[in-house]
């Protein structure tokens, strides 16, 4: 299960995730982002309450990162240890802006 909470203020989109960003939930997350991409200039993804992320979730993150790159970019915040390790393993920690 994944709860997605979106907040768009001043063209800055903040997405708060809670739960698992896995194969089952990633399509829903991707859809949620698609709806807002045109309106947003910047994107922040708060992963404080994300238990884990699978490759499907990573794929969405990578896609979002690519989409936002021409604009103000995307940053990921509050990444927990496990997810950070996964980011490290697959080399995402060098690509994404993680705060």
């Amino acid at each position: 299960m994944l709860d997605i909470e979106k907040e768009l203020s001043d063209k800055e989109l903040v997405v708060k995730l809670e739960g698992r960003l896995d194969t089952a939930t990633a399509p829903g997350f991707e859809e949620a982002l698609e709806e807002e991409f045109d309106k947003a200039e910047g994107l922040t993804i708060d992963m404080e309450n994300v238990d884990y992320i699978s490759s499907a979730g990573l794929r969405v993150l990578l896609a979002a990162h690519k989409k936002m790159s021409p604009k103000e970019g995307m940053k990921v915040i509050n990444v927990n240890e496990t997810i950070m390790e996964i980011f490290d393993i697959i080399g995402f920690s060098d690509i994404l802006t993680i705060e």
Partner: protein
């Protein structure tokens, strides 16, 4: 037996019947034959003594009796030897014995006449020993005949019976010394005239007395026969009851599971139990059964009383507990339900003490409730066995509506619970000393880490050594369960992404009893997600199929292994090249990442294709 229907049979058959013995009387016949042989032998000995007494001159008669005496010795001796040769075990020996007796004694009667009148009674009294009226009648007839001849013959040729001599009036006797009979004969008395007198004065009175003895003998034979038959009937009935009891005991022991699974199959537990009834059938029982895939139901119980009634009640209690265990979640609910059901129909006021536990073979959680049964003995991992003073509810079948208190324990891998009935602590030595729970604990703690089978056989040996030759008073039942922590859970689901959560739940349950950190769990979940979603997407595409996922920990719960099996297209994910993780975002493609992550996050990943199945195993060290 044969008398009743003999009327229908031909004379030959009736005659032949005379020589056949009923099986029932076979043993008795052999014994009687032995007695007959003894009588013959003794008769021979008596004759030898008489012969000796004659030859040394203590016995004196007017006639020389050496010849008839030797003849008698030879005859009795011969029959004795024949009986011994055939080991007293021939149907015709009884006929031989009575006929020889009737003939030999008649022969002696012919010689000794009035001096040995009592000889006539011996054959007929002896014949009664066979409990056959037919034989006694036969003996009466034949003895009457032989003694008729011997009496008449003896009156002329045997010892001179002066009692029946009637001399003509005025007869004068002159003694030349010696016996009186010679003086009588010297008068010119003709002994041939004595034949009639011997019949009238000797034979008839003797025969009438003999006939009375004969009647008594016939009655003894008859009564004896009936007694033997009744005894035989009782024996048959008794052996029938015994064989039924034996059958009951076997049925009862068949009810108790004797195939004890050990943990080689990854059940999560080792178990062993034994039941030794004090009588042929007992009221104790143990039982264990899987309530569902992972929960093991454990029962130990003791029914009031012993023998068949207890065994019958036991089967009822056992069945009820097993049925209730499937309906109710908690042990205390199960006991309460069983109690009520027993109480519904319990006019005999029987009851059963029972301890019922449910062991989660994956997590090691043990929930239990006690209905008036002995305290279980428990050891957690490295500790010694000690008594769990659990709260006792009332016995089952005692009062309707009784409630029971459940309790829970977490068994670490290696933990062991030992259950028993009062027959253990109350086993008595020859001196009447109880075995006692202290001794039970001592025996357990000598080798607390032993397997359940060893623990139980060791305990049985200790009890045997303690009680020695003392009688076993009560049933002795023991059950020992060791939680190994290698519980395995298996799930078969459709290969659909929606089912990922079910699989992660499964893994979560297996991990529950371990020291797994959240981070490790999340990594395992990521791997499970990657693999399952891969199978869901590709294995059966575009069709559908199932995946079997099983999760288990190793013995020490230091690692977890999750196995995925599918019957889809053969695909070895480990052959896929690692993605280049150093590429920039624009260069990156999402493919191949999942497997790469699995390999990075897990400690071991293996793949094999076997029997048309893709089998992928991932292993993660927990500690």
């Amino acid at each position: 037996m044969t008398e009743t229907d003999s009327g229908k049979k031909s004379i030959w058959k009736r005659f032949r019947n005379v020589f056949t013995a009923n099986e029932t009387f076979h043993e008795n016949e052999v014994q009687a034959n032995k007695l007959g042989t003894l009588v013959m032998a003794l008769s021979g000995v008596v004759l030898v003594i008489v012969l000796i007494l004659f030859s040394v001159g203590i016995f004196k008669t007017s006639k020389d009796l050496t010849g008839p005496l030797i003849q008698g010795i030879i005859e009795t001796g011969a029959v004795t030897v024949i009986c011994m040769i055939f080991k007293y075990d021939r149907k015709w020996l009884k006929w031989l014995l009575v006929i020889v007796m009737a003939v030999v004694y008649a022969g002696l009667d012919g010689v000794f006449t009035h001096k040995a009148a009592i000889l006539m009674a011996i054959p007929v009294i002896f014949s009664a020993r066979y409990f056959s009226r037919k034989l006694t009648v036969f003996t009466t007839v034949i003895t009457s005949g032989t003694f008729f001849i011997s009496t008449l013959w003896g009156s002329v040729n045997g010892l001179f019976d002066l009692n029946i001599v009637t001399l003509p009036e005025g007869t004068r006797m002159i003694s030349k010394g010696g016996f009186l009979d010679q003086a009588v004969l010297d008068t010119g008395f003709d002994r041939k005239s004595l034949v009639w007198d011997a019949f009238v004065y000797n034979y008839i009175p003797k025969w009438m007395l003999f006939f009375i003895i004969s009647l008594i003998s016939m009655d003894i034979a008859n009564k004896g026969r009936r007694m033997v038959l009744e005894q035989h009937e009782r024996d048959v009935e008794k052996s029938l009851i015994e064989s039924e009891l034996d059958l009951a005991r076997r049925i009862q022991s068949d009810m108790l599971v004797t195939a004890f699974p050990d943990d080689t199959a990854g059940n999560g537990f080792d178990i062993y139990a034994s039941m030794t009834p004090a009588r042929e059938v007992g009221g104790d029982f143990y039982d264990f059964f899987m309530i569902d895939d992972t929960r093991l139901g454990l029962v130990i119980a003791d029914v009031s009383g012993k023998g068949i009634p207890a065994a019958l009640f036991m089967t009822r209690a056992m069945t009820l507990i097993k049925a209730s265990a499937g309906q109710w979640q908690r042990p205390e609910e199960v006991l309460a339900d069983v109690n009520n059901k027993i109480c519904e129909n319990n006019d005999e006021e029987m009851f059963v003490t029972a301890w019922f536990g449910i062991l989660d073979t994956v997590t090691g959680n043990l929930a239990a409730a006690n209905g008036g049964h002995e305290y279980p003995l428990f050891r957690n991992a490295q500790e010694d066995f000690s008594m769990i003073k659990d709260k006792h509810g009332f016995v089952l079948g005692g009062l309707p509506g009784t409630t029971y208190t459940g309790y829970e324990m977490d068994m670490e891998p290696g933990s062991c619970i030992f259950l028993y009935t009062d027959g253990l602590a109350e086993a008595q030595s020859e001196a009447g000393v109880f075995f006692g729970t202290d001794r039970v604990l001592d025996v357990l703690n000598k080798e607390p880490c032993a397997s359940p089978e060893k623990i139980i056989s060791g305990m049985a040996r200790a009890v045997k050594d303690f009680t020695g030759d003392a009688r076993q008073f009560d049933d002795l039942t023991m059950m020992c369960v060791r939680f190994t922590g290698r519980g395995k859970r298996t799930l078969r689901v459709a290969a659909d992404i929606e089912n990922i959560e079910k699989v992660t739940e499964l893994v979560g349950e297996v991990l529950k009893g371990t020291d797994c950190s959240c981070q490790v769990r999340d990594k395992i979940n990521v791997a499970v997600d990657e693999i399952f979603s891969n199978i869901a997407k590709y294995a059966y595409a575009p069709g559908k199929g199932d995946v079997t996922v099983s999760a288990e920990t190793d013995k020490d719960r230091e690692s977890i292994t999750v196995t995925f099996k599918d019957n889809g297209k053969k695909y070895d994910p480990l052959e896929v090249n690692d993605p280049d993780v150093s590429l920039s975002a624009d260069e990156r493609t999402p493919g191949g990442l999942g497997v790469y992550m699995v390999r990075k996050l897990m400690d071991d990943v293996s793949y094999e294709y076997k029997d048309g199945q893709n089998i992928l195993k991932i292993k993660k060290i927990i500690k």
